[in-house]
């Protein structure tokens, strides 16, 4: 039941176009659905059964997806408990209790978020003009950005600071800092996730970010508190509550960094003219415990 209206485009073409019926947007519907199915498992099963009897296919789809999500991430023991399943497998048919790192959906979720963020950043970079002296802003790898943050590139930081357009500076720094989070997160995640695999997603992130902060405290970057995660077309599986928590953690971290930024800039500016581009390891920094940072300069 779609209603159409006729529109004339700028090149003179007249075309029928679907008229948007006033109501809820798709995003609002999704949020409503997410809230709607938040109930205990027993009720959810009953709802699914009812939906099936009433042959409400969209509701069956929604509820069965919710049940699948309940199963995800649980150990076999937990699944048996939740759904009252019999424990009738022999010992060799069962798995070892040690969970594979890749099984953790929270890590998967974080990976997904970061993958999306990286994509956005790359796209944003493509749209920007290159004004940095080295002219490498579009091609800087994560390694380069890490060294930038370590304060090894005093020149680049100064160039940033001396930008007339503060908005550009904010944009660029906003640009590089999430990269830092991505880069360090990927590096640190391997070390941390094994130990934190049973921990909370927030713990993983805060501890990883905490590591990053500790490592790179010789030079920071302003974190714009408004780190937008483009959630316009975010996956259904992203729990909005978890997303909010993650956003909050990121904001906290941003605040922590921001509070140190003025002192950092003072330090860097005062030693600015003498500083040259130096490889990280010679810097003798705390950061040198990450030996896999490449020493290549473009």
């Amino acid at each position: 039941m779609k209603s159409y209206i006729w529109l004339q485009t700028s090149d003179g073409l007249v075309q029928p176009v679907e008229e948007e019926v006033p109501g809820r947007s798709n995003k609002e519907r999704k949020i409503f659905d997410e809230k709607f199915i938040r109930m205990d498992t027993k009720k959810l099963c009953e709802l699914t059964s009812a939906a099936d009897s009433l042959q409400l296919k969209p509701l069956v789809d929604l509820t069965s997806r919710a049940i699948a999500r309940i199963i995800e991430g649980k150990t076999p023991e937990e699944i048996r408990e939740t759904f009252h399943l019999p424990d009738d497998l022999t010992e060799e048919e069962k798995l070892e209790p040690l969970r594979n790192i890749t099984d953790d959906p929270r890590i998967r979720l974080l990976n997904r978020l970061y993958a999306r963020k990286r994509k956005e950043l790359i796209e944003r970079k493509k749209l920007k003009n290159v004004e940095i002296e080295e002219g490498h802003v579009d091609e800087r790898s994560v390694d380069d950005l890490l060294s930038f943050i370590n304060g090894a590139d005093g020149k680049e930081v100064q160039a940033n600071k001396n930008k007339k357009k503060t908005r550009r500076k904010k944009d660029q720094i906003k640009d590089t800092s999430p990269h830092k989070v991505n880069g360090t997160h990927h590096g640190e995640l391997d070390n941390l996730s094994i130990s934190c695999s049973n921990g909370d997603a927030n713990d993983i992130e805060t501890s990883a970010l905490g590591e990053a902060f500790k490592v790179h405290d010789s030079g920071g970057a302003t974190f714009s508190p408004k780190l937008e995660f483009d959630d316009g077309d975010m996956d259904d599986d992203l729990d909005p509550a978890m997303k909010e928590e993650l956003d909050r953690e990121v904001e906290d971290f941003a605040r922590r960094l921001n509070s140190d930024w003025p002192e950092r800039i003072q330090e860097i500016l005062s030693s600015g003219p003498e500083r040259k581009l130096v490889p990280i390891s010679i810097d003798g920094d705390a950061s040198s415990h990450r030996p896999c940072i490449s020493l290549d300069r473009r």
Partner: protein
Amino acid sequence: MELIPGLPDDVARECLIRLTYFSFAAASTTCKQWKEEIEAPQFRLWRRSHSLSQVLLVVAQARPAPARSPGCPKLPHAPSYHLAAFDPVVGSWWELPPPPGCPDGIPLFCQLAAAGTDLVLVGGIDPVTWEASGSVYVYSFVRGEWRHGADMPGVRRSFFTCASDGQGLVFVAGGHDGEKNALRSAMAYDVAANRWVPMPDMAEERDECKGVFSRGGFLVLGGYPTDAQGRFVRSAEEFDPATWQWRPATEDVLGSSPRTCTSSISNNGDEALYMCMDGDLLVGSALPDGMTRWRAAARLPTGVGACLAHVATWQGKVMVIGSARIGEPHVGYVLEANGTWERVEFQEGFSGHVQAGCLFEI
């Protein structure tokens, strides 16, 4: 006993098919009924019919060199290869656990095949001893575990080709033996029975050939015979599993070395073969008389100019992986419907050279 107490079985099934492959291992080891349900081949077909199949590209990928302290000259060394999985929808990579007994990485130049929900790793060259290996390792995505498969019988071969029918048979053909004699022999591995089944010989010796399972047959292209080293022939042969015979070889199928050739089932059910040659992506469609007609689908992007490592297709999409210059990190390009290539950056640590790969729809 119901699948999920309180729910009719077909509704419980709707829930189970909506799991992601990360949970297969846990879910299939809760109770007998769930194990049967998830391990049944029907399960995958249901997922596919509900468009819930997840695509996973598994590759043998080089790992970056371990760190050296500054001041120490950078010594060249052979990279070690590991298995990584790429989810093209999410755009994320994760590393598969290594096969048992491969602490220094998987065998170099091994072949990978996707047999249903099992990854089969065959042969290769041992990274430590540099000997040709006949080992077979099988990784089940349902259980999240490796197991040893029966070794390849017969002469130790390398640089053979390998492809699966996607249902539990893995075909191996060609290659060369220890004396660099090109082989015309072939054999098939039955994954479920863990057994190698002999196949009749091919019409020609084919070293470094390329095989792909397409339209119900195992197609082997190119390769070269012992006395014409490096001079790839332009013929191809197809093996029909129904009759367990090779069809007569067809000449003049190719223009050059078919190292990058892959097959896929596109959206409308027609299976299309893809091949990369001379900077073009060619698509081959079946003609009524069994021949293949090749036409250029697109020009390959310059980003894979120097090194085209792998081509994969799924659900009508084509992805090429390569690098613009030797030694640079690899990137992927996905062919869009309008003919342009969309670049896919690979995250750090997963941009090494890709040696072999196979695609799963689980």
